[in-house]
């Protein structure tokens, strides 16, 4: 339309005016992001170069806050816990979600109702789910332990034992995000071309070989995309461990973001917390750079 207009009115001045008009549509959003995202980002970088005292800038320390990242055992423990969380949680979500999508990728009664139900966990406030899970995994009379006991087992110390507390956090996260993998995989499966499968059937291909040589290769970009989104989101996990276990018992579920939050808001070590934030940004960017090339075709919109 832009080109059409400039062709019909070839004056240079009007052309310039159109260019400016075009930019006016996008400039407010750009300024907003510059003010509330890019500026704070730069401010965080500036902050990371200082030590703080009583919540105020104390002195310039150069890269000292970044050096501390390498020697902080508590930070490393937070990173390790987050890694375990991310790897276990995301793998289970991918397998369960994609598996269920494969199973239900056919005309069955109530599929659209199922899709509706699956949306509920995605938008349920994570803090509320963590809070509710305290009662679900309550050790004396909570429903999970009651069921385990009625089946003849002994109650599991879901929240008081360091190992089981991390398991609980992971279970709750799996509950919340498996539907995401399911819904996206199902949408992608339904968009696959039918004629490939019909041709394969005519050639006498088995169900397994159709999955192996048609479904899987066609789904790989989408699955990579889902994996990327889940990995990035999971590394930022904060809400569920904070509301469910407060990082405890001890530091057993003190994930990276929770540790950084405490550095910032409990110990007021603002410069160091900013440095920690940048390390997390580097980790997340690394994942994106590694996986993004494989999925870039999905984003080519023009």
């Amino acid at each position: 339309m832009n080109e059409a207009l400039s062709q019909s009115i070839p004056s240079r001045q009007i052309h310039k005016q159109i260019k400016l008009d075009n930019r006016l549509f996008i400039i407010p959003a750009v300024i907003w992001v510059l003010a509330f995202s890019i500026f704070p980002l730069l401010y965080a970088l500036y902050t990371s170069l200082f030590s703080f005292r009583f919540g105020r800038i104390n002195e310039f320390v150069g890269l000292y806050n970044f050096v501390r990242l390498f020697n902080d055992a508590n930070l490393h423990s937070g990173l390790r816990i987050t890694l375990v969380f991310v790897i276990v949680s995301v793998s289970v979500q991918m397998v369960l979600g994609f598996g269920l999508a494969l199973l239900l990728n056919r005309d069955i009664l109530g599929r659209s109702l199922l899709r509706t139900i699956m949306i509920l966990p995605l938008f349920a406030t994570p803090v509320a789910i963590g809070y509710l899970s305290i009662t679900i995994f309550y050790e004396q009379n909570g429903p999970v332990n009651t069921i385990i006991r009625s089946l003849g087992g002994s109650g599991i110390p879901w929240l008081s034992n360091p190992f089981w507390a991390l398991v609980t956090v992971i279970l709750v996260d799996i509950w919340q995000w498996t539907p995401f993998v399911f819904l996206v995989s199902l949408a992608a499966l339904q968009a696959l071309p039918d004629d490939l499968y019909e041709a394969a059937k005519v050639d006498g291909a088995s169900g397994w070989s159709m999955f192996r040589y048609i479904t899987l290769p066609l789904m790989t970009p989408i699955l990579t995309l889902i994996l990327l989104l889940r990995l990035v989101e999971s590394f930022k996990v904060f809400d569920i461990p904070t509301s469910l276990t407060l990082g405890g018992p001890g530091r057993a579920t003190e994930v990276y973001s929770l540790f950084t939050y405490r550095t910032a808001m409990r110990f007021f070590d603002h410069g160091y917390a900013a440095a920690q934030g940048f390390l997390l940004l580097i980790i997340v960017s690394f994942i994106i750079v590694t996986l993004y090339r494989r999925i870039i075709t999905n984003y080519e919109t023009e």
Binding site: V33, A44, T135, F278
Partner: protein, 284 residues
């Protein structure tokens, strides 16, 4: 003979699928039901294994009434409502013209695709990196413990949703209508408001809802920037059990009070949720 074998496999397959379906639905629904169940049980009934109201136990609304009469809870509900609707409205107001521009104009420096990626990257940045600068900036601006601060921040981080959803939807519209309007002398803004907007109202509302739900659920910034008067629901429930002990009935009421709004609204935006959550990569 062969036919028999096939159909018995089919039946087994159907049973297995139905079983998986049942497990999946129960897995999703049970926690919500558990919250609802506890919220209407008398404290004495909480630890009895009863699951059907009216038949197994006499339900009560006393906890709902008690919770809703607490001034802090009312204030938190109001704060959550203001923060989420305010942020969503700003995000959609800023995002719609930007989406129109990305869909219809060709930018050279920077190119459209770079601009889109730049906007989307807002959803990739770790929020915890922003806790420090936002805290220090809002302290300077004297906006700590204010609803306004949370409106501004949530608008920023939900802005990618309207931009990606609407730019894709507008790109799918035929250009002929707008071109006809230009021939009649309409300006670009008139074309957007009079021609395009009426056609994309469902996606506009859906984007607003997705932004609203994300802003409602946001926790980290709310926790670090509020202390008393601006506290929204997620902050009020986090850590509540550590001060008053685990009372299942209050946990039930507060859980539902917190998650009811985003989940119910999300159901209205169903068709756009996959597109939104995958940042436009899967249409759904």
């Amino acid at each position: 003979m062969r036919q028999n074998k096939l159909s018995s496999i089919n039946i087994l397959n159907t049973i297995f699928t139905a079983f998986a379906l049942l497990i999946a639905v129960a897995w999703v629904i049970l926690p919500f039901y558990w919250a609802l169940l506890n919220s209407i049980k008398k404290p004495a009934d909480t630890f009895s294994n009863t699951f059907i109201p009216f038949i197994q136990f006499q339900p009560t609304l006393e906890h709902w009434l008690a919770e809703l009469s607490i001034p802090e809870i009312r204030q938190a509900l109001l704060n959550s409502a203001v923060i989420s609707t305010g942020a969503a409205t700003i995000a959609v107001l800023l995002g719609t013209p930007a989406a129109y521009a990305l869909a219809r104009f060709k930018f050279i420096r920077p190119r459209n695709s770079s601009l889109t990626t730049w906007f989307l990257s807002q959803r990739i940045l770790p929020p915890v990196l922003f806790v420090i600068p936002f805290f220090l900036i809002m302290r300077e601006l004297r906006l700590l413990d204010s609803v306004l601060a949370l409106v501004l921040l949530n608008a920023t981080f939900t802005l990618p949703f309207p931009i990606i959803i609407l730019s894709q939807i507008i790109r799918e519209l035929p250009r002929e209508l707008e071109e006809a309007a230009f021939v009649d002398g309409a300006s670009l803004w008139q074309a957007l408001v009079l021609i395009v907007l009426p056609l994309v109202i469902p996606s506009l509302v859906a984007s607003w809802i997705i932004c609203m739900a994300f802003a409602w659920n946001e926790f980290l910034f709310a926790l670090s920037l509020t202390t008393k008067s601006a506290i929204p629901m997620p902050v009020i429930i986090a850590g509540a059990e550590h001060t008053r002990g685990v009372q299942f009935w209050f946990v039930g009421v507060r859980t539902i009070l917190t998650l009811l709004v985003p989940t119910l609204f999300a159901l209205l935006a169903q068709r756009y949720i996959i597109r939104g959550l995958t940042l436009g990569a899967v249409k759904g």
